[in-house]
Amino acid sequence: MEMTATPTSIFDQISVRIIKEQELLIGPLAWTEAKKVIGLQIIDQQKGQVRFEGDPKEVLSRLVGQYSRLFGRASTEVCRQAVQDLIVEIPKEQVPEVLQ
């Protein structure tokens, strides 16, 4: 999928912010779970570098869902709150519903 208006890096930032926020709560397990998400490739965990394959909006939804399956709705709220300053920078239609 071609991203025109929004640079891919903002989605990178959102996904890394979510993983790091979850890391504060559940430790390294946050990265282990993130690696299971289809379309999200962890390039360098230390540097917080990731790569998206496919629609970033869908990948982000899957990432949030990955944590939600394990820890319930509270984890979705954590993800949502962690990225508030970032999601205001992208068009609403590109923001996954779970993060709105």
């Binding site: 504060l24 709560l25 559940i26 319930g72 509270a74 709150q81 508030q84 300053d85 205001v88 920078e89």
Partner: protein
């Protein structure tokens, strides 16, 4: 171990509950982590500008803000003066593009301003979504609207920086979102760190004031010392000229003098010498303060020097109906490495004091020596001293109790003497059995001194 559906559900519930507890802990941890960073900054940063710089930058980065600004409040001119603004890259770019320099923009008439008045006078936090609420009047409103758009500013928060002395400043936070969208960590942090910033800034401002006051004091002290030096030199020239002419007249260079005239001129000479001595003390004290008291050490006979001085001061003693008795050792005393003129001043000041503070009785000047040192003692039967005066007598501008009624002087003689003796690696002291029981002033100088025959530039002298 196999688990059934109910067990799985139960484990999931436990998992979620633990997770919820972790959220609370994580919020507290993050808030404490930020506060710890701010405390560390407040401990390490001494000047207000550095402190404001680091504090604003830390808050901006940790809370993902577009801008954090620290102002201090100058109450006497009712103005908020910007210290430092930490900016996101895009906010900084927008400022550059619009040529707005927030760091230079002072906000005046604070207590008359509809928004600042609430922050500074009412000590209330204030929120706005319009930059014009802060910078209207100093920045064009169209520029402000463009800045908000390009700098991604959606809401601004202003907090008073409160200390026990009142409001000392204002903290401004600029976000790309609303307050409602802040998470618990962000809300908790904002409510916690304003006090930390206020205390840190207060400490830094006090440090700055002390630094300035210290520099001003140093400048004043230097100016005073220079003034005294110049004035003393000007003061010394006339009595030095008088001394030269009096010496010539008393030596008979201008013809024989009548007894009466000679006696009058001897008294004039004594007074003149005392004046010169006082000015020399003043000059030396000034040189000590400026670290410019120089010493010219060379081997010299202290026995001869003290003898000549006693002879010179005898007329002064006679004016006070006293005599100076010089008790020099009968055996030979080796020459010692000293600045003769300075040591002469020390002995002069001791004998002069003894004469001034004794209404009657003779002054005894005793010179003793052993293998290690030479000691000069000036013993009088005069006013004496209590213990408190003995301890204070070598301090600058220190004068004996009731000295105003007993003697003239500036209270510099013994201070200068102490510095001179200590520069010779010697020791100086005063003894008295009490008030009315006379005093002994003494100093000793080492015979085998390691001082070389050279000039010492006195950098610092203790008082």
């Amino acid at each position: 171990m196999p688990t059934n559906g109910a067990d799985k559900q139960h484990l999931q519930e436990i998992n979620e509950e633990i997770y919820k507890r972790n959220i609370e802990l994580a919020v507290v941890n993050k808030t404490l982590s930020l506060l710890r960073k701010l405390y560390q900054i407040s401990l390490l940063a001494l000047d207000p500008a550095t402190l404001a710089d680091k504090v604003s930058d830390t808050i901006r980065v940790d809370l993902n803000m577009e801008m954090v600004g620290v102002f201090y409040y100058e109450e006497n001119i009712d103005t908020l003066v910007p210290f430092k603004f930490a900016k996101s890259e895009r906010f900084a770019e927008a400022l550059t593009k619009l040529n707005i320099k927030l760091d230079d923009l002072k906000l005046t008439k604070v207590t008359k301003h509809p928004v600042f008045q609430q922050v500074v006078a009412d000590r209330a936090a204030k929120q706005t979504d319009a930059l014009a609420d802060i910078w209207s009047g100093v920045v064009d409103e169209k520029h402000l609207a463009a800045l908000a758009k390009e700098g991604h500013l959606q809401s601004m928060f202003m907090f008073p920086l409160l200390t026990q002395h009142g409001v000392i400043g204002m903290l401004v936070l600029g976000l790309n979102r609303t307050y409602e969208s802040l998470n618990q960590f962000e809300k908790d942090s904002i409510n916690s760190f304003t006090d930390v910033v206020a205390v840190a800034l207060d400490k830094a401002l006090v440090y700055e004031k002390l630094k300035i006051a210290n520099e001003q004091l140093k400048a004043l002290d230097k100016a005073r010392a220079e003034f005294i030096s110049i004035a003393s030199h000007q003061l010394r020239t006339p009595p030095a000229t008088i001394k030269w002419y009096l010496g010539a007249v008393l030596a008979g260079d201008f013809g024989k003098l009548s007894e009466e005239l000679e006696a009058a001129l001897v008294r004039t000479n004594v007074t003149n010498e005392a004046q010169i001595s006082t000015i020399d003390d003043l000059l030396n004290a000034s040189r000590i303060e400026r670290g410019k008291l120089e010493f010219f050490f060379e081997p010299a006979s202290i026995v001869t020097m003290v003898g000549a001085l006693v002879e010179q001061l005898e007329p002064l003693a006679q004016m006070h109906k006293q005599h100076i008795i010089y008790r020099a050792p009968t055996e030979s005393v080796p020459d010692i490495m000293m600045d003769s003129e300075k040591i002469r001043q020390v002995v002069n000041n001791m004998i002069d004091n003894a004469i001034k503070y004794s209404k009657q009785g003779d002054i005894e000047v005793k010179l003793e020596h052993d293998a290690e040192s030479v000691t000069v003692k000036v013993i009088d039967t005069g006013k004496g001293m209590d213990k408190e005066t003995q301890d204070a007598i070598f301090k600058k501008y220190s004068r004996g109790k009731d000295s105003a009624t007993h003697a003239t002087g500036l209270g510099l003689g013994m201070y200068v003497a102490k510095v001179i003796v200590e520069q010779h690696n010697g020791r100086i002291w005063a003894e008295s059995s009490g008030v009315g029981k006379g005093s002994t002033f003494a100093f000793s100088l080492p015979i085998k001194s390691e001082i070389m025959a050279t000039t010492v530039d006195l950098a610092q002298a203790s008082e």
